[in-house]
Symmetry: C2
Subunit: 252 residues, 2 copies
Amino acid sequence: MQLNRREDVPVYRQIALVLQQRIDAGEWGASGQLPTEPLLTAEFGVNRLTVRQAIAELERAGSVVVRHGKGVFVAPPFTRAEIVVDAASQQVDMGSVHLTVVEAADQLYERVVGSADEGDPEASSHLGLPVAHLQRVDTILGLHDATAAVLTSYWLDRHRFGDLVSRWAGDVTLPAILRAAYGIELGYDWRGFSAVAAGLADSEHLGVAVGHPLLVRDGVSVDESGAPVYYLRRRYPGERVKFILRFRDSGI
Amino acid sequence: MQLNRREDVPVYRQIALVLQQRIDAGEWGASGQLPTEPLLTAEFGVNRLTVRQAIAELERAGSVVVRHGKGVFVAPPFTRAEIVVDAASQQVDMGSVHLTVVEAADQLYERVVGSADEGDPEASSHLGLPVAHLQRVDTILGLHDATAAVLTSYWLDRHRFGDLVSRWAGDVTLPAILRAAYGIELGYDWRGFSAVAAGLADSEHLGVAVGHPLLVRDGVSVDESGAPVYYLRRRYPGERVKFILRFRDSGI
DNA sequence: CACGATTTGTTCGTATGTATT
DNA sequence: AAATACATACGAACAAATCGT
């Protein structure tokens, strides 16, 4: 394989492109294992660091998975949990994540991992409350058996829900708490979808690399009178979930 | 600043954490410029590559922006284009991106950047056609004045739309072509939202780093009879767009 | 406009640590 | 325990972008 050392495109990127082409061609199809770093170093005639930069690029792209002490492997295709929202009926199960595990709802848990009297400009504007009136509660939502996890931040009026965390006996979801302890029946106001890179804290909680793409689902939930109760921002590892908005009748 | 060389957490990560804390504290608030690599190297008493690894981590996290020849800067807060979908009415303007630029729809363009007789398992299953019957068309959608861009792949029946690309006179969107050249009036069947990392090709087209989080919006569009016309997969730079699903009446 | 100073980008070389088999 | 493979860190050199003189 020839590399253009004078090209304006760096050597490590050229190597990444070549390896990506070989992956697409299914070159290492069976085991899915790429040649080791020393082998690639020898083949391309470059420094090991340069090879590592190429591999790191492919890892960030999601093309390969690097396993310490084992090797570099072609990334397996992901299977996303699908969460369907019916546009017409507006009927969506509370909490959404229930839908992915509707057959195992009792295995669902939500655990508080942190809270602070900390506002957020966006939360403030969506709730119509000054930043100083807000508290933030961070939780991990997931299945007992799976390593899977979802990270959520809620912002609530701290004058009204100041004792929320102390009332939060583990392993129940927030809608359940609000129903039991405050008599509030929640409904959706709106939900937004966007994508961000995992920050240092996200990385810790979700067990993904810094910069890993996260699907962000934020929004406001309201009580029966339509008054806002909280603003939430939920982050899912991007390759694990897909929200589907269905416009036509599902034909039932 | 003290670093634990024996800790199980790498030095470059400890440095990244310290820098992140300083960013959160607003330490370099005015100019937003962090100390130069040589300065950080001196302060932490480590190699320059170690400092660079820390900065690269923060860059991937979206905390800083690195500019060649200039320096490292605290990342400015992003402003997303918001695209609102009304869940009740099911009425969404065709193409969606129109909504972000509804005041400048004539400045919108869609340009074919590639096409191939190439199927896709997912496209195949959603369209109910064998992989061999599909063609793929890749386009860039954006504004003439902006660097902003959206990358889209369409999969269509190549027996029915084999001459689509040749009929695609530049700067028009696909729905417009299908209406003009084939007499098809499109409608949504469903749309999905997920997140992926930018691959090498995505990176080129969108002008973002490899691994950059992309919001993926895929789905099937149908004709008036409800028959599928194409499956599309559209990728947006994550920090630039937010889709909003509104459940309650907008109060008009 | 040219040139140098500053700052980040790329590449090489080397050594040692840690996970896996 | 030894061999293999990836992870971290240090030192050095030159390239490329930016900016002021």
